[in-house]
Protein backbone atom coordinates (compact mmCIF):
# COMPACT_ATOMS: atom_id res chain seq x y z
CA UNK A 1 0.00 0.00 0.00
CA UNK A 2 2.92 2.27 0.74
CA UNK A 3 4.00 2.09 -2.88
CA UNK A 4 0.79 3.32 -4.31
CA UNK A 5 1.32 7.07 -4.18
CA UNK A 6 4.58 6.76 -6.09
CA UNK A 7 2.87 4.60 -8.64
CA UNK A 8 0.23 7.21 -9.10
CA UNK A 9 2.73 9.95 -9.63
CA UNK A 10 4.55 7.86 -12.15
CA UNK A 11 1.30 7.24 -13.92
CA UNK A 12 0.34 10.88 -14.08
CA UNK A 13 3.76 11.85 -15.19
CA UNK A 14 3.74 9.40 -18.05
CA UNK A 15 2.34 11.02 -21.15
CA UNK A 16 -0.24 9.22 -23.23
CA UNK A 17 0.73 10.14 -26.73
CA UNK A 18 -1.23 7.52 -28.71
CA UNK A 19 -4.60 8.55 -27.24
CA UNK A 20 -3.83 12.21 -27.73
CA UNK A 21 -2.77 11.83 -31.31
CA UNK A 22 -5.77 9.60 -32.05
CA UNK A 23 -8.18 12.17 -30.69
CA UNK A 24 -6.43 14.85 -32.60
CA UNK A 25 -6.65 12.88 -35.83
CA UNK A 26 -10.39 12.34 -35.44
CA UNK A 27 -11.03 16.00 -34.73
CA UNK A 28 -8.93 16.97 -37.71
CA UNK A 29 -10.73 14.75 -40.22
CA UNK A 30 -14.34 14.02 -39.31
CA UNK A 31 -14.80 10.98 -41.54
CA UNK A 32 -18.36 9.64 -41.89
CA UNK A 33 -18.75 6.57 -39.68
CA UNK A 34 -18.67 3.47 -41.84
CA UNK A 35 -21.34 0.95 -40.95
CA UNK A 36 -19.56 -2.13 -39.75
CA UNK A 37 -20.71 -5.32 -41.33
CA UNK A 38 -20.75 -7.44 -38.17
CA UNK A 39 -22.70 -4.96 -36.06
CA UNK A 40 -26.19 -3.48 -36.14
CA UNK A 41 -26.49 0.30 -36.48
CA UNK A 42 -26.21 1.88 -33.07
CA UNK A 43 -29.52 3.72 -33.33
CA UNK A 44 -31.39 0.51 -34.15
CA UNK A 45 -34.01 0.21 -31.41
CA UNK A 46 -35.34 -3.20 -32.37
CA UNK A 47 -34.91 -6.39 -30.40
CA UNK A 48 -33.28 -7.83 -33.49
CA UNK A 49 -30.02 -6.07 -32.81
CA UNK A 50 -28.10 -9.03 -34.07
CA UNK A 51 -24.91 -9.05 -35.96
CA UNK A 52 -24.41 -11.28 -38.93
CA UNK A 53 -22.14 -13.39 -36.76
CA UNK A 54 -24.91 -13.87 -34.19
CA UNK A 55 -27.42 -14.87 -36.83
CA UNK A 56 -25.03 -17.39 -38.31
CA UNK A 57 -24.21 -18.70 -34.84
CA UNK A 58 -27.87 -19.21 -33.94
CA UNK A 59 -28.73 -20.56 -37.36
CA UNK A 60 -25.81 -22.93 -37.34
CA UNK A 61 -26.64 -24.42 -33.97
CA UNK A 62 -30.33 -24.57 -34.82
CA UNK A 63 -29.49 -26.50 -37.95
CA UNK A 64 -27.15 -28.79 -36.03
CA UNK A 65 -29.57 -29.64 -33.24
CA UNK A 66 -32.47 -29.74 -35.67
CA UNK A 67 -30.64 -32.39 -37.60
CA UNK A 68 -29.73 -34.36 -34.47
CA UNK A 69 -33.26 -34.24 -33.05
CA UNK A 70 -35.09 -35.09 -36.27
CA UNK A 71 -32.74 -37.92 -37.11
CA UNK A 72 -33.11 -39.30 -33.58
CA UNK A 73 -36.89 -39.19 -33.88
CA UNK A 74 -36.64 -40.81 -37.28
CA UNK A 75 -34.37 -43.55 -35.95
CA UNK A 76 -36.80 -44.23 -33.10
CA UNK A 77 -39.76 -44.37 -35.45
CA UNK A 78 -37.79 -46.74 -37.66
CA UNK A 79 -37.75 -49.27 -34.83
CA UNK A 80 -41.58 -49.46 -34.74
CA UNK A 81 -42.62 -51.67 -37.65
CA UNK A 82 -45.85 -50.80 -39.47
CA UNK A 83 -46.66 -54.34 -40.50
CA UNK A 84 -46.59 -57.32 -38.17
CA UNK A 85 -46.29 -60.83 -39.49
CA UNK A 86 -48.18 -62.28 -36.57
CA UNK A 87 -51.38 -64.31 -36.54
CA UNK A 88 -54.47 -62.08 -36.28
CA UNK A 89 -55.83 -61.77 -32.76
CA UNK A 90 -59.42 -62.25 -33.94
CA UNK A 91 -60.31 -65.65 -35.31
CA UNK A 92 -63.21 -68.05 -35.82
CA UNK A 93 -63.17 -71.20 -33.77
CA UNK A 94 -65.70 -73.45 -35.47
CA UNK A 95 -69.30 -74.18 -34.62
CA UNK A 96 -70.29 -74.15 -30.93
CA UNK A 97 -72.12 -77.47 -31.15
CA UNK A 98 -68.82 -79.15 -32.03
CA UNK A 99 -67.56 -78.58 -28.47
CA UNK A 100 -68.29 -81.11 -25.76
CA UNK A 101 -69.70 -79.86 -22.46
CA UNK A 102 -67.03 -79.86 -19.76
CA UNK A 103 -64.18 -80.02 -22.24
CA UNK A 104 -61.12 -77.74 -22.34
CA UNK A 105 -60.33 -77.53 -26.03
CA UNK A 106 -56.63 -77.27 -26.89
CA UNK A 107 -57.42 -76.97 -30.60
CA UNK A 108 -56.21 -73.37 -30.80
CA UNK A 109 -53.53 -73.50 -28.15
CA UNK A 110 -50.51 -73.93 -30.43
CA UNK A 111 -51.57 -71.44 -33.05
CA UNK A 112 -53.42 -68.81 -31.00
CA UNK A 113 -52.46 -69.56 -27.37
CA UNK A 114 -56.09 -69.78 -26.33
CA UNK A 115 -58.08 -72.53 -24.61
CA UNK A 116 -61.79 -72.65 -25.32
CA UNK A 117 -63.76 -74.04 -22.41
CA UNK A 118 -67.32 -75.35 -22.89
CA UNK A 119 -69.42 -75.47 -19.77
CA UNK A 120 -73.08 -76.33 -19.38
CA UNK A 121 -74.05 -72.64 -19.45
CA UNK A 122 -71.78 -71.59 -22.28
CA UNK A 123 -68.25 -70.72 -23.38
CA UNK A 124 -65.26 -68.84 -22.15
CA UNK A 125 -61.79 -68.47 -23.62
CA UNK A 126 -58.64 -68.52 -21.49
CA UNK A 127 -55.42 -67.02 -22.77
CA UNK A 128 -52.64 -69.59 -22.38
CA UNK A 129 -50.08 -67.21 -20.89
CA UNK A 130 -49.02 -67.84 -17.31
CA UNK A 131 -49.56 -64.75 -15.19
CA UNK A 132 -46.27 -65.40 -13.42
CA UNK A 133 -43.68 -64.88 -16.15
CA UNK A 134 -45.48 -65.59 -19.38
CA UNK A 135 -44.80 -69.25 -20.13
CA UNK A 136 -47.49 -71.47 -21.65
CA UNK A 137 -49.20 -73.64 -19.04
CA UNK A 138 -50.48 -77.14 -19.86
CA UNK A 139 -54.00 -78.46 -19.41
CA UNK A 140 -53.88 -81.64 -17.33
CA UNK A 141 -57.28 -83.33 -17.79
CA UNK A 142 -56.56 -86.00 -15.15
CA UNK A 143 -55.82 -83.36 -12.49
CA UNK A 144 -58.50 -81.03 -13.85
CA UNK A 145 -56.11 -78.07 -13.72
CA UNK A 146 -53.75 -75.89 -15.75
CA UNK A 147 -50.13 -76.36 -14.77
CA UNK A 148 -47.23 -74.18 -15.81
CA UNK A 149 -44.04 -76.15 -16.56
CA UNK A 150 -41.74 -73.20 -15.80
CA UNK A 151 -42.30 -72.59 -12.09
CA UNK A 152 -45.21 -74.82 -11.18
CA UNK A 153 -48.10 -72.36 -11.06
CA UNK A 154 -51.48 -74.13 -10.99
CA UNK A 155 -54.88 -72.82 -12.08
CA UNK A 156 -58.37 -74.26 -11.80
CA UNK A 157 -60.41 -74.88 -14.89
CA UNK A 158 -61.93 -71.42 -14.44
CA UNK A 159 -58.47 -69.90 -14.61
CA UNK A 160 -58.24 -69.01 -10.91
CA UNK A 161 -54.74 -69.52 -9.52
CA UNK A 162 -54.39 -71.79 -6.51
CA UNK A 163 -50.75 -72.93 -6.34
CA UNK A 164 -47.28 -71.80 -7.31
CA UNK A 165 -45.96 -68.28 -7.81
CA UNK A 166 -48.61 -66.93 -10.22
CA UNK A 167 -49.97 -63.77 -8.57
CA UNK A 168 -53.35 -63.61 -10.35
CA UNK A 169 -55.76 -65.72 -12.39
CA UNK A 170 -55.28 -66.44 -16.07
CA UNK A 171 -56.74 -63.83 -18.39
CA UNK A 172 -59.84 -64.45 -20.43
CA UNK A 173 -60.37 -63.37 -24.04
CA UNK A 174 -63.45 -62.13 -25.84
CA UNK A 175 -65.76 -64.88 -27.03
CA UNK A 176 -68.86 -64.32 -29.13
CA UNK A 177 -70.85 -65.65 -32.06
CA UNK A 178 -69.94 -64.47 -35.56
CA UNK A 179 -72.49 -63.73 -38.29
CA UNK A 180 -72.07 -67.19 -39.78
CA UNK A 181 -72.82 -68.87 -36.46
CA UNK A 182 -69.24 -69.76 -35.64
CA UNK A 183 -67.52 -69.00 -32.37
CA UNK A 184 -65.47 -65.85 -32.56
CA UNK A 185 -62.48 -65.24 -30.30
CA UNK A 186 -60.51 -62.00 -29.96
CA UNK A 187 -57.28 -62.31 -27.99
CA UNK A 188 -56.66 -58.58 -27.94
CA UNK A 189 -59.79 -58.02 -25.85
CA UNK A 190 -58.89 -59.23 -22.37
CA UNK A 191 -60.97 -59.69 -19.23
CA UNK A 192 -59.12 -59.65 -15.91
CA UNK A 193 -60.63 -61.36 -12.89
CA UNK A 194 -58.90 -59.07 -10.39
CA UNK A 195 -60.53 -56.08 -12.06
CA UNK A 196 -63.95 -57.71 -11.84
CA UNK A 197 -64.20 -58.04 -15.59
CA UNK A 198 -65.27 -61.67 -15.79
CA UNK A 199 -68.92 -60.64 -15.60
CA UNK A 200 -68.65 -58.22 -18.51
CA UNK A 201 -70.32 -58.99 -21.83
CA UNK A 202 -67.89 -60.83 -24.07
CA UNK A 203 -66.06 -62.55 -21.25
CA UNK A 204 -68.62 -65.35 -21.23
CA UNK A 205 -70.84 -66.58 -24.04
CA UNK A 206 -74.15 -68.00 -22.91
CA UNK A 207 -74.97 -71.01 -25.00
CA UNK A 208 -77.18 -73.97 -24.37
CA UNK A 209 -77.44 -76.62 -26.96
Amino acid sequence: MADQPTNETVHTLTPAPPAASHAARISETPLPRKPKQDRAPEDDPGIWRMSRRNILWVGGWLAFFGFIVTSTIGALRYMFPRVLFEPPTKFKAGRPEDYVVGEVSEKFKDEKRVWIVREREGFYAIIAICTHLGCTPRWLPSDNKFKCPCHGSGFYKTGINFEGPAPRPLERAYVGIADDGQLEIDRSVKFLYEKGEWGKPGSFLEYKG
Binding site: M79, P81, L84, F85, E86, C135
Partner: protein, 260 residues
Protein backbone atom coordinates in the same frame (compact mmCIF):
# COMPACT_ATOMS: atom_id res chain seq x y z
CA UNK B 1 26.27 -64.81 -41.52
CA UNK B 2 22.81 -64.57 -39.97
CA UNK B 3 23.98 -61.96 -37.51
CA UNK B 4 25.46 -60.04 -40.39
CA UNK B 5 22.19 -60.18 -42.31
CA UNK B 6 20.25 -59.10 -39.25
CA UNK B 7 22.57 -56.19 -38.62
CA UNK B 8 22.30 -55.23 -42.27
CA UNK B 9 18.50 -55.37 -42.08
CA UNK B 10 18.49 -53.18 -39.02
CA UNK B 11 20.32 -50.50 -40.89
CA UNK B 12 17.72 -50.32 -43.64
CA UNK B 13 15.28 -47.46 -44.00
CA UNK B 14 12.32 -49.87 -43.67
CA UNK B 15 13.43 -51.27 -40.35
CA UNK B 16 14.27 -47.89 -38.89
CA UNK B 17 10.97 -46.44 -39.97
CA UNK B 18 9.07 -49.14 -38.09
CA UNK B 19 11.26 -49.75 -35.05
CA UNK B 20 12.62 -46.40 -34.06
CA UNK B 21 14.72 -47.46 -31.13
CA UNK B 22 17.42 -49.96 -30.51
CA UNK B 23 17.28 -52.52 -27.79
CA UNK B 24 19.85 -50.74 -25.67
CA UNK B 25 18.69 -51.37 -22.18
CA UNK B 26 18.27 -47.87 -20.87
CA UNK B 27 15.30 -46.47 -18.98
CA UNK B 28 14.62 -44.03 -21.78
CA UNK B 29 14.72 -46.65 -24.53
CA UNK B 30 12.43 -48.96 -22.64
CA UNK B 31 9.88 -46.23 -22.21
CA UNK B 32 10.19 -45.09 -25.82
CA UNK B 33 9.70 -48.59 -27.13
CA UNK B 34 6.33 -48.75 -25.42
CA UNK B 35 5.23 -45.21 -26.22
CA UNK B 36 6.21 -45.34 -29.89
CA UNK B 37 4.32 -48.54 -30.67
CA UNK B 38 0.64 -48.23 -31.42
CA UNK B 39 -0.17 -51.60 -29.83
CA UNK B 40 2.16 -51.41 -26.87
CA UNK B 41 1.17 -47.86 -26.01
CA UNK B 42 -2.15 -49.20 -24.75
CA UNK B 43 -0.11 -50.69 -21.94
CA UNK B 44 1.34 -48.40 -19.28
CA UNK B 45 4.96 -47.47 -19.84
CA UNK B 46 5.85 -48.46 -16.33
CA UNK B 47 4.08 -51.13 -14.36
CA UNK B 48 4.20 -50.59 -10.62
CA UNK B 49 5.51 -53.47 -8.59
CA UNK B 50 2.18 -54.00 -6.85
CA UNK B 51 0.36 -54.42 -10.17
CA UNK B 52 1.70 -57.93 -10.45
CA UNK B 53 0.31 -58.79 -7.03
CA UNK B 54 -2.54 -61.11 -7.96
CA UNK B 55 -3.61 -61.37 -4.36
CA UNK B 56 -4.59 -57.72 -4.50
CA UNK B 57 -6.05 -57.24 -7.98
CA UNK B 58 -7.18 -60.81 -8.71
CA UNK B 59 -6.50 -59.89 -12.35
CA UNK B 60 -10.23 -59.97 -12.96
CA UNK B 61 -10.42 -56.82 -15.09
CA UNK B 62 -7.68 -58.11 -17.37
CA UNK B 63 -9.28 -61.54 -17.60
CA UNK B 64 -12.60 -59.92 -18.47
CA UNK B 65 -10.93 -58.00 -21.29
CA UNK B 66 -9.20 -61.16 -22.50
CA UNK B 67 -12.56 -62.97 -22.53
CA UNK B 68 -14.10 -60.08 -24.47
CA UNK B 69 -11.39 -60.49 -27.11
CA UNK B 70 -11.97 -64.26 -27.19
CA UNK B 71 -15.70 -63.64 -27.57
CA UNK B 72 -15.17 -61.14 -30.37
CA UNK B 73 -12.94 -63.51 -32.34
CA UNK B 74 -15.01 -66.65 -31.82
CA UNK B 75 -18.18 -64.65 -32.42
CA UNK B 76 -16.97 -63.45 -35.80
CA UNK B 77 -15.99 -67.03 -36.68
CA UNK B 78 -19.47 -68.26 -35.72
CA UNK B 79 -21.03 -65.62 -37.98
CA UNK B 80 -19.67 -67.50 -41.00
CA UNK B 81 -22.16 -70.33 -40.42
CA UNK B 82 -25.03 -68.77 -38.49
CA UNK B 83 -28.00 -67.14 -40.21
CA UNK B 84 -30.23 -65.07 -37.91
CA UNK B 85 -33.60 -66.05 -39.37
CA UNK B 86 -36.22 -68.21 -37.71
CA UNK B 87 -35.99 -70.68 -40.55
CA UNK B 88 -32.26 -71.34 -40.27
CA UNK B 89 -31.00 -70.26 -36.86
CA UNK B 90 -31.62 -73.50 -34.97
CA UNK B 91 -30.48 -75.65 -37.89
CA UNK B 92 -27.28 -73.63 -38.25
CA UNK B 93 -26.57 -74.00 -34.54
CA UNK B 94 -27.02 -77.77 -34.90
CA UNK B 95 -24.87 -77.75 -38.01
CA UNK B 96 -22.13 -75.90 -36.12
CA UNK B 97 -22.30 -78.39 -33.26
CA UNK B 98 -22.31 -81.52 -35.40
CA UNK B 99 -20.79 -81.07 -38.83
CA UNK B 100 -18.67 -77.93 -39.03
CA UNK B 101 -14.94 -78.70 -38.50
CA UNK B 102 -14.01 -77.29 -35.08
CA UNK B 103 -17.54 -75.90 -34.89
CA UNK B 104 -18.24 -77.31 -31.42
CA UNK B 105 -14.90 -75.97 -30.18
CA UNK B 106 -15.63 -72.45 -31.38
CA UNK B 107 -19.21 -72.41 -30.19
CA UNK B 108 -18.29 -73.84 -26.81
CA UNK B 109 -15.47 -71.33 -26.47
CA UNK B 110 -17.96 -68.57 -27.18
CA UNK B 111 -20.51 -69.99 -24.79
CA UNK B 112 -18.15 -70.68 -21.91
CA UNK B 113 -16.27 -67.43 -22.34
CA UNK B 114 -19.60 -65.62 -22.18
CA UNK B 115 -20.56 -67.35 -18.95
CA UNK B 116 -17.09 -66.72 -17.54
CA UNK B 117 -17.17 -63.07 -18.52
CA UNK B 118 -20.32 -62.41 -16.51
CA UNK B 119 -18.60 -64.06 -13.57
CA UNK B 120 -15.29 -62.23 -13.91
CA UNK B 121 -17.03 -58.88 -14.32
CA UNK B 122 -18.84 -59.46 -11.06
CA UNK B 123 -15.69 -60.65 -9.28
CA UNK B 124 -13.85 -57.60 -10.65
CA UNK B 125 -16.56 -55.36 -9.24
CA UNK B 126 -16.41 -57.22 -5.94
CA UNK B 127 -12.63 -56.76 -5.72
CA UNK B 128 -12.88 -53.07 -6.56
CA UNK B 129 -15.43 -52.74 -3.78
CA UNK B 130 -13.34 -54.66 -1.26
CA UNK B 131 -10.17 -52.66 -1.93
CA UNK B 132 -12.08 -49.38 -1.94
CA UNK B 133 -10.87 -48.64 -5.44
CA UNK B 134 -14.13 -46.87 -6.25
CA UNK B 135 -13.13 -43.94 -4.03
CA UNK B 136 -11.93 -40.58 -5.36
CA UNK B 137 -10.43 -40.02 -7.84
CA UNK B 138 -11.91 -43.22 -9.25
CA UNK B 139 -15.64 -42.54 -8.69
CA UNK B 140 -16.29 -41.80 -12.36
CA UNK B 141 -14.60 -45.02 -13.42
CA UNK B 142 -16.87 -46.96 -11.08
CA UNK B 143 -19.84 -45.48 -12.95
CA UNK B 144 -18.32 -46.49 -16.27
CA UNK B 145 -17.80 -49.94 -14.77
CA UNK B 146 -21.44 -50.23 -13.79
CA UNK B 147 -22.44 -49.34 -17.36
CA UNK B 148 -20.05 -52.01 -18.61
CA UNK B 149 -21.62 -54.54 -16.22
CA UNK B 150 -25.06 -53.75 -17.67
CA UNK B 151 -23.69 -54.03 -21.21
CA UNK B 152 -22.11 -57.39 -20.36
CA UNK B 153 -25.43 -58.68 -19.03
CA UNK B 154 -27.27 -57.36 -22.10
CA UNK B 155 -24.72 -59.03 -24.39
CA UNK B 156 -25.18 -62.28 -22.49
CA UNK B 157 -28.97 -61.99 -22.60
CA UNK B 158 -29.14 -61.13 -26.30
CA UNK B 159 -26.79 -63.99 -27.17
CA UNK B 160 -29.01 -66.38 -25.23
CA UNK B 161 -31.80 -66.05 -27.83
CA UNK B 162 -29.67 -66.84 -30.85
CA UNK B 163 -29.74 -70.69 -30.68
CA UNK B 164 -33.50 -70.25 -31.22
CA UNK B 165 -34.45 -73.33 -29.21
CA UNK B 166 -37.22 -73.63 -26.64
CA UNK B 167 -34.94 -72.61 -23.78
CA UNK B 168 -33.86 -69.47 -25.63
CA UNK B 169 -37.33 -68.40 -26.72
CA UNK B 170 -38.89 -68.87 -23.30
CA UNK B 171 -36.02 -67.30 -21.41
CA UNK B 172 -36.28 -64.21 -23.59
CA UNK B 173 -40.06 -64.25 -23.32
CA UNK B 174 -39.75 -64.18 -19.56
CA UNK B 175 -36.93 -61.62 -19.64
CA UNK B 176 -38.65 -59.18 -21.95
CA UNK B 177 -41.94 -59.49 -20.07
CA UNK B 178 -40.28 -57.33 -17.46
CA UNK B 179 -40.26 -54.52 -20.03
CA UNK B 180 -44.07 -54.56 -19.98
CA UNK B 181 -43.98 -53.10 -16.49
CA UNK B 182 -41.51 -50.30 -17.21
CA UNK B 183 -42.85 -47.03 -15.77
CA UNK B 184 -43.96 -44.62 -18.51
CA UNK B 185 -42.63 -46.93 -21.23
CA UNK B 186 -44.40 -50.27 -20.78
CA UNK B 187 -48.07 -50.90 -21.41
CA UNK B 188 -48.55 -52.61 -18.05
CA UNK B 189 -46.34 -50.30 -16.03
CA UNK B 190 -47.20 -47.22 -13.99
CA UNK B 191 -48.71 -44.50 -16.22
CA UNK B 192 -48.39 -46.81 -19.23
CA UNK B 193 -52.10 -47.19 -20.06
CA UNK B 194 -52.68 -43.52 -19.21
CA UNK B 195 -50.12 -42.56 -21.86
CA UNK B 196 -51.93 -44.69 -24.40
CA UNK B 197 -49.41 -47.52 -24.49
CA UNK B 198 -50.57 -50.82 -25.93
CA UNK B 199 -48.75 -54.11 -26.52
CA UNK B 200 -48.02 -52.88 -30.02
CA UNK B 201 -46.46 -49.52 -29.25
CA UNK B 202 -44.52 -49.75 -25.99
CA UNK B 203 -40.86 -50.32 -25.17
CA UNK B 204 -41.21 -54.10 -25.28
CA UNK B 205 -42.55 -53.79 -28.80
CA UNK B 206 -39.35 -52.02 -29.81
CA UNK B 207 -37.20 -54.69 -28.19
CA UNK B 208 -39.09 -57.55 -29.79
CA UNK B 209 -40.03 -55.97 -33.11
CA UNK B 210 -43.51 -57.38 -32.48
CA UNK B 211 -45.94 -58.19 -29.71
CA UNK B 212 -44.33 -61.56 -28.98
CA UNK B 213 -40.94 -63.20 -29.37
CA UNK B 214 -40.74 -64.03 -33.06
CA UNK B 215 -38.50 -63.84 -36.13
CA UNK B 216 -38.13 -60.03 -35.89
CA UNK B 217 -36.93 -60.48 -32.31
CA UNK B 218 -34.25 -62.91 -33.43
CA UNK B 219 -32.98 -60.43 -36.00
CA UNK B 220 -33.06 -57.51 -33.57
CA UNK B 221 -31.22 -59.42 -30.89
CA UNK B 222 -28.69 -60.64 -33.44
CA UNK B 223 -27.87 -57.13 -34.65
CA UNK B 224 -27.75 -55.89 -31.07
CA UNK B 225 -25.57 -58.80 -30.00
CA UNK B 226 -23.09 -58.63 -32.89
CA UNK B 227 -22.90 -54.93 -33.74
CA UNK B 228 -24.60 -52.47 -31.42
CA UNK B 229 -23.75 -53.75 -27.94
CA UNK B 230 -20.10 -54.72 -28.66
CA UNK B 231 -19.55 -51.31 -30.24
CA UNK B 232 -20.99 -49.48 -27.23
CA UNK B 233 -19.09 -51.77 -24.85
CA UNK B 234 -15.83 -51.11 -26.72
CA UNK B 235 -16.30 -47.36 -26.45
CA UNK B 236 -16.95 -47.62 -22.73
CA UNK B 237 -13.98 -49.97 -22.31
CA UNK B 238 -11.72 -47.43 -23.98
CA UNK B 239 -12.91 -44.81 -21.51
CA UNK B 240 -12.62 -47.30 -18.64
CA UNK B 241 -8.97 -48.16 -19.37
CA UNK B 242 -8.11 -44.55 -20.12
CA UNK B 243 -9.54 -43.51 -16.75
CA UNK B 244 -7.54 -46.19 -14.94
CA UNK B 245 -4.38 -44.67 -16.37
CA UNK B 246 -5.44 -41.10 -15.69
CA UNK B 247 -6.58 -41.83 -12.15
CA UNK B 248 -3.14 -42.99 -11.13
CA UNK B 249 -2.76 -46.38 -12.75
CA UNK B 250 -3.90 -49.71 -11.49
CA UNK B 251 -4.99 -49.47 -7.90
CA UNK B 252 -2.74 -50.93 -5.28
CA UNK B 253 -2.17 -50.95 -1.57
CA UNK B 254 -1.50 -47.58 0.04
CA UNK B 255 2.09 -46.42 -0.53
CA UNK B 256 4.54 -47.30 2.19
CA UNK B 257 2.82 -50.52 3.13
CA UNK B 258 4.80 -53.48 1.92
CA UNK B 259 1.94 -55.86 2.34
CA UNK B 260 2.73 -58.28 -0.44
Amino acid sequence: MLTQLRDQFRKTEVYKSIFRHSYQDTQRNRALQIVDNVFLHLHPVRVPRHATNLGYTWGMGGITFLLFIVLTITGVILMFYYRPTAQYAYEDMKYLMNDVPFGPLIRNMHRWAAHAMVLTVMLHMFRVFLTGSYKPPRQFNWVIGVILLVLTLLLSFSGYLLPWDQLAIWAVTVGTNMARATPLLGHEGPFGPELGLRPDNDVRFVLLGGTEVGPPTLLRFYVGHCIFLPLIATIFMIVHFWRVRKDGGISGPPPGKNNF
